[in-house]
């Protein structure tokens, strides 16, 4: 039996936190900046006293320019979700610095984890509770967000009667309704079918730029989504192997696939 124990597992951004969030006043070119990020968990064995430090992220650096959509790719378990959680401020990195524009929103890999309220409209409006809006504004935003993901008819549906893909779209609508400057999206399209998938990517694309200079980092396994991206990052085993141009990354991945098939 293994008991996992996060190093510095603290969900609230503590004063000691090394996560530095630039407010709107900071004049930065990048929406997301991560420098030499490392993250490890301490695995404590119940039987026996020895602790093991288990590195998940090793010296990752990444830069996502303002107003762009970047994709983050990599095999299962390479640490994409962990990296995204660090960028979202949910985890504190063991070492390294993070600078992310605020406000930012984060969509979990599993929509069941994201959806907090029992009915669709209440859940989409949950994130707006901190913003001091009037009821009409909230209603307008919720309707717009649900329309963007094609769920307008589902306003009053109980969440547990939705399918996986519909739940995921509700989760996306919740993030869109907040109209944040940075969107951190973890494998949004896993539960979606082909047309929905492209619809969601396009919906996200349409949110980008604008007066707020919205930017997004998108984790995916689907290579066909790469054509919507302005840049890509490829990770393997907790390290950033390559980042930058989409075509280079796509080339690297297809070469790796070819190698895998050949071996």
């Amino acid at each position: 039996m293994i008991k996992a124990n996060f190093v510095g597992s603290c969900c609230h951004p503590s004063p000691r936190s090394r996560v530095i969030c630039a407010g709107g006043d900071c004049n930065i070119k990048y929406a997301i900046q991560g420098q030499n990020l490392s993250y490890s968990v301490t695995v404590k064995k119940l039987i026996g006293v020895q602790k093991m430090v288990f590195p998940i992220l090793k010296d990752c650096s990444l830069h996502v320019p303002v107003g762009q959509l970047w994709m983050l790719l990599g095999p299962n378990g390479c640490g994409k979700s962990t990296l995204l959680k660090i960028l979202a401020g949910l985890l504190n990195p063991t070492s390294g610095n993070v600078i992310v524009r605020k406000p930012r929103s984060f969509v979990f890999q599993n929509p069941d984890h994201q959806v907090v309220m029992p009915t669709v409209e209440a859940d989409v409006s949950f994130g707006l509770g901190k913003l001091n809006l009037t009821a009409d504004e909230v209603r307008a935003r919720v309707e717009k967000a649900l329309k963007t993901v094609g769920m307008s008819e589902y306003l009053q549906r109980p969440v547990q009667t939705l399918s996986g893909g519909q739940k995921q779209r509700v989760a996306i609508a919740g993030a869109l309704a907040e109209s944040c400057k940075v969107l951190l999206l973890d494998e949004l399209t896993t539960f979606l079918d082909e047309t929905d998938q492209m619809g969601v990517v396009e919906a996200i694309r349409n949110c980008l730029g604008g007066p707020d200079q919205v930017s997004a980092l998108w984790v995916t396994h689907r290579l066909e989504e790469l054509k919507y991206a302005d840049g890509a990052i490829y990770m393997e085993d907790g390290r950033v192997i390559m980042d930058g141009d989409v075509s280079n990354v796509a080339h690297l991945i297809s070469r790796k696939q070819a190698d895998y098939l050949a071996s």
């Binding site: 969900c11 609230h12 979202a88 949910l90 406000p103 929103s105 984060f106 979990f108 599993n110 069941d112 984890h113 994201q114 959806v115 907090v116 309220m117 029992p118 009915t119 409209e121 209440a122 409006s125 949950f126 994130g127 707006l128 509770g129 901190k130 913003l131 001091n132 009821a135 909230v138 209603r139 919720v142 306003l155 009053q156 549906r157 109980p158 969440v159 547990q160 009667t161 919740g174 907040e178």
Partner: protein
């Protein structure tokens, strides 16, 4: 030390389908020690289960003995694994949570303000216990008609069937049970003739209404039974009627509205409402989790017949442990989601928006008037019809 149990004579029964075989070890014939190694090796589902050295089919044996016909006793053996059936039952029962909001056909009840519905609910809980029997049965009939009229067919058949069964059982048990008890435990008032009183000239009145052998339905029994059966029917049916036509948010809004006065006493209303909403969401997650874990076990195709009682118990314990672990994980993830979505722990600052139309419409007026009429009628019935 080798385990003797594995090499004990093992017999397999052929069930009807002929596919499932039940292996049984005659432990009473084998006075050996059962090694813990044996149990642990059998415990692993994927692990190799030591093959029994000898296999005889009792089904064939029984057929041979009984002139080609299967012996009666074979029919009484448990057919198919019970444990698997239990898991299948759990998986099936959890697929439709009770009292879920039905949004598709928008009816009169969907339009009515949730606060009015809550007032109705309260009245329907209080009234049956404080009014005449005619009134009680009237309420039951009213609720039944309402359910049939408002809800889709499969929903009302399901709900009414369940509630009617429950209150029917309650009615029969209490009706015949409350006064059929031997007179020793009853209040012993001597008959009037013994006390030298003249008999009252009562005609058309009899304490006993119906007699079925040793059971008898008396006036007291009828009163007790009708009260409790009607009460349970109205409570359950009105609650599920309310739940199927009101979203959890609307209910929470109504509760909040009624709880506003409590704010001045220092009750954390906002926190209570948020907790209520979160738990309403969480209930469905728990249902899902229980179902999924049961499905996972069913789909593993465990050979239940080969497991001992302890091993089956072990699987059940593992099942419960997994459910709890998953639920705690879910709770953790949802707190993370709430933090990410801007909740900072103060429910007074973090507003929850309710989209219910707060304007008071015609439908609300009508149903409020109906409620007042009902309360009036029940008071009148108590005064006059006694």
């Amino acid at each position: 030390m080798s385990c003797k149990l594995c090499s004990s004579p093992t017999v397999s029964f052929l069930s009807d389908s002929g596919r499932t075989s039940i292996r049984q070890s005659f432990r009473y014939q084998v006075p050996f020690v059962i090694s813990p190694l044996c149990t642990s090796s059998r415990l692993s589902w994927s692990g190799k289960v030591p093959k029994p050295p000898k296999r005889r089919s009792l089904g064939i044996l029984a057929m041979a003995q009984g002139n080609g016909e299967r012996e009666k006793w074979l029919m009484w053996l448990p057919r198919g694994p019970v444990a698997e059936r239990v898991f299948r039952l759990i998986a099936g029962a959890m697929s439709s949570p009770v009292g879920q909001y039905v949004s598709s056909p928008v009816t009169f009840l969907h339009v009515v303000d949730s606060r009015v519905k809550l007032a109705w609910l309260l009245a329907l809980v209080v009234l049956p216990s404080r009014s005449h029997i005619v009134m009680r049965f009237g309420l039951v009939a009213f609720l039944a008609v309402m359910s049939v009229w408002v809800l889709p067919k499969d929903v009302w058949t399901d709900q009414l069937g369940r509630v009617t069964l429950l209150s029917g059982i309650l009615f029969l048990m209490l009706g015949f049970g409350s006064d059929s008890a031997p007179p020793l435990v009853q209040l012993r008032t001597p008959p009037p003739s013994l006390m030298g009183l003249p008999e009252l000239p009562l005609s058309g009145y009899s304490y006993s209404i119906l007699k079925l052998g040793p059971l008898q339905l008396t006036r007291k029994g009828l009163s007790v039974a009708s009260t409790s059966a009607c009460l349970s029917f109205t409570i359950f049916q009105s609650a599920s009627l309310c739940l199927t036509t009101t979203t959890p948010e609307q209910l929470a809004y109504a509760l909040q509205w009624f709880m506003i006065p409590l704010k001045f006493v220092g009750v954390p209303v906002a926190e209570i409402i948020l907790t209520l909403l979160l738990s309403l969401r969480f209930i469905s997650i728990v249902f899902d989790e229980v179902r999924n874990a049961a499905m996972a076990i069913v789909s593993r195709r465990i050979k239940w017949e080969q497991l001992t009682v302890m091993e089956t118990l072990d699987i059940f314990i593992m099942y419960v442990r997994r459910i709890f672990a998953n639920i705690f994980k879910h709770a953790e993830q949802i707190t993370q989601a709430m933090i990410v979505r801007g909740f900072r722990g103060d429910s007074n600052i973090h507003k929850i928006y309710f989209f219910s139309n707060t304007s008071f419409g015609i439908a609300d007026m009508i149903s409020l008037l109906g409620l007042l009429g009902l309360i009036g009628a029940s008071i009148v019935s108590e005064q006059i019809l006694v």
